[in-house]
């Protein structure tokens, strides 16, 4: 222990060591991304002869074009673009609806107390822990009975359903912290449930709406399992198509095209993260610290 005490006395050495470790770990964290980018730019003979960490000698963007337009999965050779648009068609409405559903439910639970509200919150917290595998098949049967299985509305609805527990908890925790007097005053003035929500609550929620929108966009874009099972052949999201393209086992594996495809799939949530990481951090910590 004595040595530790002394090192605390020389903050310079201490700090230097910290920077060194942080820089090494940061480099290790960036390395996989670096490999992905340089490999996507290299022609195949360079990949075969060189090392994975070397910069491309003769870089080319062709592989991105191929990954986007003509890479083959088991089903067709139309590239990832189809999956990209399918993902957009799924993610945009699913994010909007699940955030809205969470906001309305959280608002009702936080500001309009009724018997059973507490039990409902407990139930929401418990179901947030359930692995998909336990409930997937019964939901598939329900969806096929009502004609939603293998359809665009079906995959959107399933994302809204699975997002509901966490979204509701986040909004409820946020709204419970708002001054309740605001609502009381509005109620005395005769404003109802919907009006208070639209004209008082929503204008006070831009931050939390940004956080939850980002969380859901990322989660739904990155989903693989639900898309695989619920979307149906015509609506397969980008992650599923990426997996199909990469795992197709015909001819020589084109690592550069595969890495380009992976990069393209990773790009939307990655861009969102780099552009507004603050909300991303708030989202994950809000979900964790309070839950």
């Amino acid at each position: 222990m004595a040595t530790f005490d002394r090192s605390a006395g020389s903050p310079f050495v201490y700090k230097l060591a910290i920077y060194l470790v942080l820089i090494l770990v940061a480099a290790a964290f960036l390395l996989p991304m670096f490999v992905m980018v340089v490999t996507a730019l290299k022609p195949m003979d360079e990949i075969r002869s060189g090392s994975i960490f070397s910069f491309p000698v003769d870089p080319s963007l062709d592989h991105f074009g191929k990954a986007w337009l003509s890479a083959c999965s088991g089903l067709s050779c139309s590239g990832l673009s189809e999956g990209f648009w399918n993902s957009i068609k799924i993610v945009v409405p699913a994010t909007a609806f699940s955030v809205l559903a969470g906001a309305v439910t959280g608002y009702a639970l936080a500001m309009w107390p009724f018997r059973g509200a507490k039990a409902l919150m407990t139930a929401l917290m418990i179901v947030a822990f359930i692995p998909y595998q336990v409930i997937l098949y019964p939901i598939v049967r329900i969806f096929s009975t009502i004609g939603l299985y293998n359809s665009l509305p079906g995959i959107i609805l399933i994302h809204v359903i699975f997002g509901l527990p966490v979204m509701t908890m986040i909004f409820k925790n946020y709204y419970i912290g708002l001054p309740q007097e605001l609502i009381k005053a509005a109620r005395i003035d005769g404003a109802g449930f919907t009006r208070i929500f639209v004209s008082i609550i929503l204008p006070m929620s831009p931050g939390i709406l940004a956080v939850t929108t980002m969380m859901q966009f990322t989660a739904i874009w990155n989903d693989y399992l639900l898309g695989l099972i619920f979307a149906g052949r015509d609506n397969l999201p980008m992650t599923v198509q990426l997996s199909n393209i990469v795992h197709v086992s015909m001819g020589e594996i084109e690592y550069n095209v595969n890495m380009a495809a992976t990069l393209l799939t990773a790009l939307p949530p990655l861009l969102l993260y780099f552009l507004s990481g603050r909300y991303f951090v708030q989202g994950i910590t809000a979900g964790a610290v309070k839950g």
């Binding site: 964290f29 409930i135 019964p138 992650t239 595969n258």
Partner: protein
């Protein structure tokens, strides 16, 4: 008043229906099916715990179930150590804090499919890290865990730690920032080293938060599906299979509903068994 409350009740009605039908109802259905002889189609004749007996004599399940504990134990331990370590280092008033934070957290924005594919390439012997080290002149260097039956499961740990460490860092950092400055001032006056303050005062204070992290990671472990599909697809053979993949495979490809349901319920029981004690110890702390 009652009419207004009625609107609130109407607003939560869809949530109640979803919880009752999609979550609780579906669990009951799966639990019931796990006690029947269901194969391709559901069959409602009860046969007791036969499916569970069959499950735990199925070689592939035993491997998957054991893998969950190997993968889970190492992943939770590794992620916690790295995440807490990074949080403490970042908390010691360094420059470029936001740059470091951004770097440590970016993998979390990637999907497990993308994460799995990147790491698969890095670890494939003929093109990845092994090839790189060999090209530097160390011709006999071998790092081929991903194609070794006994080691493939460990490669998943690398990818999962890389993906999740930033999450733990962010959560713990938020906790560290909430620690009373007074504690630091008092201990500094007493000449107590920072290392000791962290080990004996600050981290014990954050125990509830660390428990939350363990719960989050444990749930991620039990749910794991995409990562193993992208990275090893359970291979070589089924040596790196995990319960999440086992259930999906037996439900949708092999159409063995009874066995898949028994496996799914076992997953659920595992989660409950892991979470309940953690939850109570967290309650006890508060």
């Amino acid at each position: 008043m009652t009419i207004r409350n009625l609107q609130a009740k109407l607003a939560v009605l869809p949530t109640v229906v979803v919880i009752a039908v999609c979550f609780l109802g579906s669990i009951c259905w799966t639990a019931y099916i796990s006690l029947t002889r269901s194969g391709i189609m559901p069959n409602y004749t009860l046969v007791g715990f036969q499916q569970y007996v069959r499950l735990f004599s199925t070689e592939r399940w035993i491997v998957s179930f054991g893998n969950m504990f190997i993968f889970g134990g190492l992943m939770v331990a590794g992620t916690l150590i790295l995440g807490v370590g990074l949080a403490i280092m970042i908390d010691s008033k360094i420059r470029f804090e936001s740059v470091f934070r951004t770097i440590f957290l970016y993998p979390l924005s990637l999907s497990y499919i993308v994460t799995g594919l990147i790491w698969q390439w890095l670890l494939t012997p003929s093109i990845g890290i092994q090839q790189f080290v060999r090209s530097l002149g160390w011709e006999s260097f071998t790092f081929d865990w991903i194609i070794q039956k006994d080691y493939a499961i460990y490669t998943l740990v690398f990818a999962a730690v890389w993906h999740q460490a930033g999450l733990i860092m962010a959560i713990i950092l938020a906790g560290l920032r909430g620690v009373d400055e007074e504690i630091w001032r008092a201990t500094k006056l007493d000449g107590i080293s920072k290392t000791r303050v962290y080990a004996q005062v600050v981290l014990p204070m954050l125990k509830p938060l660390i428990m939350t992290c363990v719960v989050l990671l444990a749930i991620a472990v039990v749910k794991s599906y995409d990562l193993v599909v992208a990275m090893t697809d359970g291979g070589p053979g089924n040596s790196s299979d995990l319960p999440g993949r086992f259930v999906i495979d037996y439900t949708f490809d092999r159409a063995n509903l009874g066995l898949a349901s028994a496996a799914a319920i076992t997953m659920l029981i595992t989660i409950v068994a892991v979470i309940t004690p953690l939850f109570y110890s967290k309650k006890g702390q508060q």
